[in-house]
Amino acid sequence: MRRTPLDPEMLDRTDRAILNALQDGFPISPHPFADAAAALGLTESDLIARIERLREIGVVTRFGPFFDAEAMGGAFCLCAMEVPQDRFEDTVTLVNAMPEVAHNYERAHQLNMWFVLACEKPEGISKAAARIERETGLKVLLFPKLKEFFIGFRVAA
């Protein structure tokens, strides 16, 4: 995924209107592009072509259904470790080698390694954490989600 800003000149007003409108939702209907295009004053084929281009230039990361991973039966847990600086790179290698580790970030804090465990079953989480503790000799703090709040995040295009 692109992590640098795009030249703003690459987007015109219509592109921005599409980005602003469709991040709120896209219809589930027989001709959803035609429906969404009508609301934007565009034709179906113009909307499809523009979304295609926005995806190609990396302004759209995903277009389609967003799933609740847990509803599909998976288990996830945010974890953190305090890793001594001189052992950091070795620990990265050990932790990243585990297939259960989905994301791993270095963060500026005493707890300097933050990763997400993703397992098929809930019991997999504590097993994976225990294995990381065994292999690294470091304590793994588990921060399971107790409550997730509805997100109002919007990106003004």
């Binding site: 959803p32 389609g64 259904p65 609740d68 005493q110």
Partner: protein, 161 residues
């Protein structure tokens, strides 16, 4: 929120996104040997039950200039954490918002909110906004900036039960 094998096939077929054709649900139905009406009915049901959070376009916030972010963490009074957490999550610069257990004494924070901005200064300004919103219910807070991505893999969806 139960889903069956057919739902899983639909999830697997669309986990990379919808096809950019005039009838994308009909196209997916064709791949799976289902009718368009059944794909739409099942997706609508999954949306009602929360398996599908939404069908939408996700803008790349980095490409649009939101390149700075920080994981803000807050020690919020337990009896107000749910109400205040809902308010923080609803802010338009917050992309993830969760209650998590504290890990005392090292970690006193129970509310996690990912804040986004065009630069570090804007993220810090948003952090002040959250602090004002939490008021006296907040007993301590911090923000963790990522210094390096060590690993990032997509969620694996096998479509199996």
């Amino acid at each position: 929120m139960t889903i069956d094998a057919t739902d899983r096939k639909i999830i697997a077929a669309t986990s990379g996104g919808l096809p950019l054709t005039p009838s994308p649900y009909g196209e997916v139905a064709g791949w799976l040997g289902l009718t368009e009406a059944e794909v739409m009915r099942r997706m609508q049901r999954m949306q009602v039950t929360g398996v599908i959070r939404r069908v939408a376009l996700a803008p790349n916030h980095y490409a649009l200039g939101l390149v700075a972010n920080g994981m803000s963490v807050w020690d919020v009074a337990d009896d107000q954490a749910e109400t205040l957490g809902a308010k923080v999550g609803a802010l338009e610069f917050v992309s993830h918002c969760y209650l998590r257990p504290r890990a005392l004494p090292a970690w006193p924070y129970n509310l996690f909110a990912m804040l986004h901005g065009h630069d570090r200064a804007e993220v810090e300004a948003k952090r002040s906004d959250v602090l004002r919103l939490l008021g006296d219910a907040c007993h301590g807070h911090d923000i963790l900036y990522s210094t390096r991505i060590l690993k990032k893999t997509g969620l694996r969806l096998t479509g199996e039960g």
